[in-house]
Amino acid sequence: MPLTKLHKATILVHTPVGKEYYRIVLRAPEAAAAALPGQFVMLRVSETMDPLLARPFGVSSIISKSSLELYYRIAGRGTALLSSLEPGQRLSMHGPFGKGFPVPPKGSAPVLVAGGSGFPPLLFFSHRFGARAHLFLGARNKECLPPPAVIKKFKDDLEKVHIATEDGSRGTRGVVTDLLAAYLSGLDGKVPAAIYACGPRPMLAAVSGLAAERSVPCYVSMEERMACGLGACMGCSVGVKTGGYKRVCKEGPVFEAGEIEWGCRESNESKGSEEFLTLKTP
């Protein structure tokens, strides 16, 4: 049988970009040909049994039709191990998996919102569909924003990039959802075609609320700890309004914001805990 989702991906480029952020380009032609904005791949950072599980990474770009670009931030053992790997090394990779962002109507001006290290899927989206889009980037401080090279890419692909940091070290002081609310209110009743968001759960919940108030379609990329990435382990479930759970890896990671039961899961992981098994901060 053809195994189009099982890869030995060769590292082509692997460089630090900004504080604790890395950019990695992996040669995997079948994955590169198939990947859509919002989808992710599962990458094993080691062939040993510890760490055991593959890590999910949102695809940030397709490079020359045969390679995938990923960005990650060192946030635990898995990513620390990954950061030590050299170009030429090969990694087990599965995917691409999941349901990506819906394609916005042609010529429309979507709004994108990226919190913290949640930018990679939106980078891919921007390159494909972002010509008239506005992006809202939010982070605790300027070090937590995407690396400068990424912000430049966003600026090249998009109509405008708005930045907010909670400590005011870059852009507007405050949370990105306040900046977004002000922007939406300033549109004088005109609403964007859709909002596409990726970032921490509280941010996604707030964006979802803003979109609902204005009846704007809103799509959020969710994250949850994940073992298999292909719908079998049932580990990455998120609560939905209709009752029960849906799998981030299969029915998501991109969901209609109105589908998610935002109240049912508080973030219970400490800042210093291992990042791993979550989609956007691998």
Partner: protein, 311 residues
């Protein structure tokens, strides 16, 4: 020097009356209902698929977080989320029936009556080769583990299921007991045809910075290579104590791992958590078994079952 045989080794197994073309199965809960692995595994190559646990009614499962990675293993507390036996029969089984592989349905209930009812529903259903009775899930308060850690309850439940179906009944035993062979004997006395062991080991992990459990369920089942030596030991003890065929499982990643279980006394093996890290783990194990048998001049896989010895 061992002479190499030219003919293909015989991997077929008659497991409690279930014809398996080879001893490689999928452990319940790690392979969905087969379709999840369609991009990676031709199900026709597998000895059989043990599907994710099925109950009488749909179950939504536990709140997240449901999993946590541990050294060479993982904890899970999924809570037996499943669509229920009706959806299984109408939506999941028809897919599996398209393949030439044994389908073993893992069943569980929240009460004695639930267990029996789901066994009755599956009796005589074309395409179902056998039942694996989960009396050992550590993550559901009212179900599984109550039966899996109480000898009398286990015996009574398995006896009732035995009466409710003509299908081969395989009891999946909990390792969270002092002496697993006692439960194997209870399963034999209840008329079970085979045993699966082991289920996950009950575990726990704590996020020390926020002083909270890693899992919303607080505790979860430990699986993966970390538990393999425990599982091999329990298969070995049980095989010596009870003359029932055993499906051995617990941290199998490679053919060598599978062979440990077979030499310890397992007639078949199930690949579990390894499916998550390598979606083709089952096929890799199978190919490795064939290679090993060819290299070692082993004609039939049955010749290796229980053949560990001090030499």
């Amino acid at each position: 020097m061992i002479s190499k045989i030219k003919t293909k080794p015989d991997l077929s197994v008659d497991f409690a009356g279930i014809k398996l073309k080879n001893p490689v199965l999928t452990a319940s809960g790690t392979f969905g209902y087969g379709e999840e692995y369609a991009d990676f595994v031709d199900l026709n190559t597998l000895g059989g698929v043990i599907v994710k646990g099925i109950s009488l009614r749909p179950i939504t499962g536990n709140p997240p977080p449901r999993i946590w990675e541990t050294p060479s293993g993982m904890l899970n507390a999924i809570g037996l989320e499943n669509p229920g036996v009706d959806v299984f029969l109408t939506e999941k089984l028809p897919y599996l029936r398209k393949f030439d592989t044994a389908v073993i349905v893992n069943i569980f209930g929240y009460s004695f009556e639930d267990y029996v009812a789901v066994a009755e529903r599956l009796d005589g259903v074309p395409g179902v080769s056998g039942l694996e009775v989960n009396i050992s899930c550590p993550n559901v308060k009212a179900g599984g583990i109550v039966f899996g850690t109480d000898l009398k309850a286990a015996f009574e439940l398995l006896s009732a299921i035995r009466k409710a179906t003509k299908l081969p009944v395989i009891a999946k035993l909990s390792p969270n007991v002092t002496d697993i062979t006692e439960f194997a004997k209870a399963a034999r006395d209840a008329g079970c045809d085979g045993l699966s062991l082991i289920n996950t080991l009950l575990g726990m992990s704590i996020d020390v910075r926020c002083r909270k459990p890693r899992l919303a369920n607080w505790t979860g089942g430990l699986s993966g290579p970390a538990i393999r030596p425990v599982a091999v030991r329990m298969v070995w003890q049980t095989a010596k104590a009870v003359p029932l065929p055993i499906i051995g499982m617990g941290g199998i990643v490679t053919a060598e791992d599978a062979l440990e279980f077979i030499l310890a006394g397992a007639s078949a093996v199930a690949v579990g958590t390894a499916n998550f890290i390598n979606p083709r783990a089952t096929v890799d194990v199978l190919e490795g078994l064939e290679t090993f048998m060819t290299e070692q001049g082993v004609g039939a896989i049955g010749d290796l079952v229980g053949k560990v010895s001090a030499g």
